[in-house]
């Protein structure tokens, strides 16, 4: 070993931030927000500290599944530009370290959630981690172009877990919140896939744009948006909805349906001519679509506290 190799190792040594990056912090922020809404809109409450610890556990559990995903997908992450700088392909964290961190944090988060809240929410969190790490990452991601549809379920569980923390159960409301994120994921992701030149093909991951073509992807975006709308609007008529949510949801769905319809009816020539402006717009509004739906549920909960929410 020379001075040069020692120097290189020292420079590449993982910092705390590299381990934190394994937890996919951006995904965690969405998880925290939706789990928080799932808790706030529930009809019963828990002590604020238990609520805080529960959200922390849900976030750490989601992060743990992210670390397990990075451990499993290190080979394809190294091939793709978007993911090549992740801690494992960048050579900062050993794959076995990511596996150990993922497993340890999975265990910690599930057991702590069980102790802090209840067995059902802990079981749902454990299933979420299993679903993302095993069913999505190991089984489906490289096997089917519908991977994004099924993988979306992992991201859809947090509000259901938040609801279970509060109520100790599963109900129509929490199932619909799950369905909202589940149905939203495909059009959101495929809108992105239409305008981003991905290298999933090089990595051997089947993506709809490459296996079934771009026309079929546009049809899928439209089809899933059609299925999404009744779910999103339907929440308005449950105990967590109300006139405010209904108004917001109708506007957001009208806009999203319009965007998806435009994307479906465009051909590649038109899209290339304006550099995929409509597809980019649909992707942008899909981000605000989910945020504003859950935000509207929060507003409804606040209005109910003053006796003016709901129906």
């Amino acid at each position: 070993m020379t001075d040069a190799t020692i120097q290189t190792q020292a420079q590449d040594e993982a910092q705390f931030g590299d381990y934190f990056a394994l937890l996919k912090p951006r995904v965690m922020s969405l998880v925290v927000f939706t789990a928080f809404v799932g808790m706030i809109v529930a009809p019963v409450g828990v002590h604020p500290f238990i609520g805080f610890v529960s959200i922390l556990c849900i976030a750490v559990g989601a992060g743990a599944s992210g670390a397990l995903n990075m451990w499993w997908d290190a080979d394809i992450d190294a091939v793709m530009r978007r993911t090549a700088k992740r801690p494992i392909p960048a050579g900062k964290v050993e794959p076995q370290e990511a596996l150990a961190l993922g497993l340890a944090l999975s265990g910690f988060s599930v057991v702590l959630l069980w102790l802090a809240a209840n067995a059902l929410s802990a079981a749902l969190l454990a299933f979420t981690i299993f679903f993302y790490a095993v069913i999505y990452s190991m089984w489906l991601k490289r096997a089917t172009p519908q991977n994004i549809v099924i993988g979306g379920a992992a991201g859809a569980f947090p509000p259901m877990i938040g609801w279970a923390v509060m109520t100790g159960g599963v109900s129509l409301e929490s199932i619909l919140m799950f369905a909202l994120i589940f149905m939203w994921t495909p059009p959101h992701f495929w809108a992105l896939a239409l305008f981003v030149k991905t290298d999933y093909g090089d990595a051997g991951v089947p993506m709809l744009t490459e296996t079934h073509g771009r026309k079929s992807t546009r049809l899928h975006v439209w089809g899933y948006t059609l299925l999404l709308a009744p779910v999103a609007v339907g929440i308005a008529f449950t105990s967590i909805g109300g006139w405010f949510y209904l108004a917001v949801s109708l506007l957001l769905n009208a806009r999203f349906l319009y965007g998806a319809w435009l994307v479906w009816n465009r051909d590649e020539g038109a899209s290339e001519a304006d550099e995929y402006a409509t597809e980019k717009w649909l992707f942008r509004i899909s981000l605000s679509y989910l945020f504003l739906h859950f935000g509207a549920l929060l507003v409804e909960a606040a209005l109910r506290a003053y006796g003016i929410g709901g129906w």
Binding site: A10, E13, A14, Q15, F16, Y19, F20, H47, F49, I50, V53, L56, L112, L115, A116
Partner: protein, 80 residues
Amino acid sequence: MAIKVEHEMHERRRGRNRGVGLVLLGLVGIVFGLTVVKVLNLEEIKQFERFDHVARPQIEPAAIEAAADRNAAAEEGVSE
């Protein structure tokens, strides 16, 4: 001559070790906080006695039922 205790590796890993230290401190805080909240939220503080690892025959179900019967009998005696 000063003894150099600090190795270069310690300097290099300082941020990482501090991070782990803070995470562990946070975990201790969470477990402590949960304990306080759970204990204070018990409907009847006597429930906490069940976890003190000491045999307490007076809180066994049979003893509790017997005590309840005695109280009921005593109340009936008073009302008569």
